[in-house]
Amino acid sequence: DTGVTQSPTHLIKTRGQQVTLRCSPISGHKSVSWYQQVLGQGPQFIFQYYEKEERGRGNFPDRFSARQFPNYSSELNVNALLLGDSALYLCASSYGGETQYFGPGTRLLVL
């Protein structure tokens, strides 16, 4: 089985720009979650989607938004990028159970 895939793997943007990150969950998984991991810290929860509906939102500004498509893939959008948005963005999928399966992440650098 193919695991969780994310694209792109790396991305460089400048302050004020917008970015879209993509995630494809494991086949059959209907839940997708997004996490931000700043260098040297643990991941922080951003969003969770289940069956295309938002089920949870972390403590992130409105510049962060996400959506889930009918095929359960997901996009994370970040507007008006700040230097502090530089991080590894992780996507995780689950069937609805307790274990989340993580993708390799997208490393975003904001200059």
Partner: protein, 110 residues
């Protein structure tokens, strides 16, 4: 904000030795999970222990949970160089959201 705190932040041991990492958390939980991360890449799920369990084993891994002290420990026995990674505890409360600690960076020297 991070719910859990791992201790120690960094650990260096020789191959063959045991490695113990501790995690403390603040609120009631449904379960606690441990993940491994190699070189800043994706996280790999290692083991899950539910709030009504006290100990769980998986291969060379042993996890304990003390809900009265809001703490957990991960023991890796007979460590190998390939165990070099960062280890994170994550708690699950209401919903499916995971709250991670800051991680323990383990280095196993050959």
């Amino acid at each position: 904000s991070q719910q859990g705190e791992e201790d120690p932040q960094a650990l260096s041991i020789q191959e063959g030795e045991n490695a113990t990492m501790n995690c403390s958390y603040k609120t009631s939980i449904n379960n606690l999970q441990w993940y491994r991360q190699n070189s800043g890449r994706g996280l790999v799920h290692l083991i899950l222990i539910r709030s009504n369990e006290r100990e769980k084993h998986s291969g060379r891994l042993r996890v304990t949970l003390d809900t009265s002290k809001k703490s957990s420990s991960l023991l890796i026995t007979a460590s190998r160089a390939a165990d070099t990674a960062s280890y994170f505890c994550a708690t699950r409360s209401a919903g499916n959201m995971l709250t991670f600690g800051g991680g323990t960076r383990l280095m196993v020297k050959p």
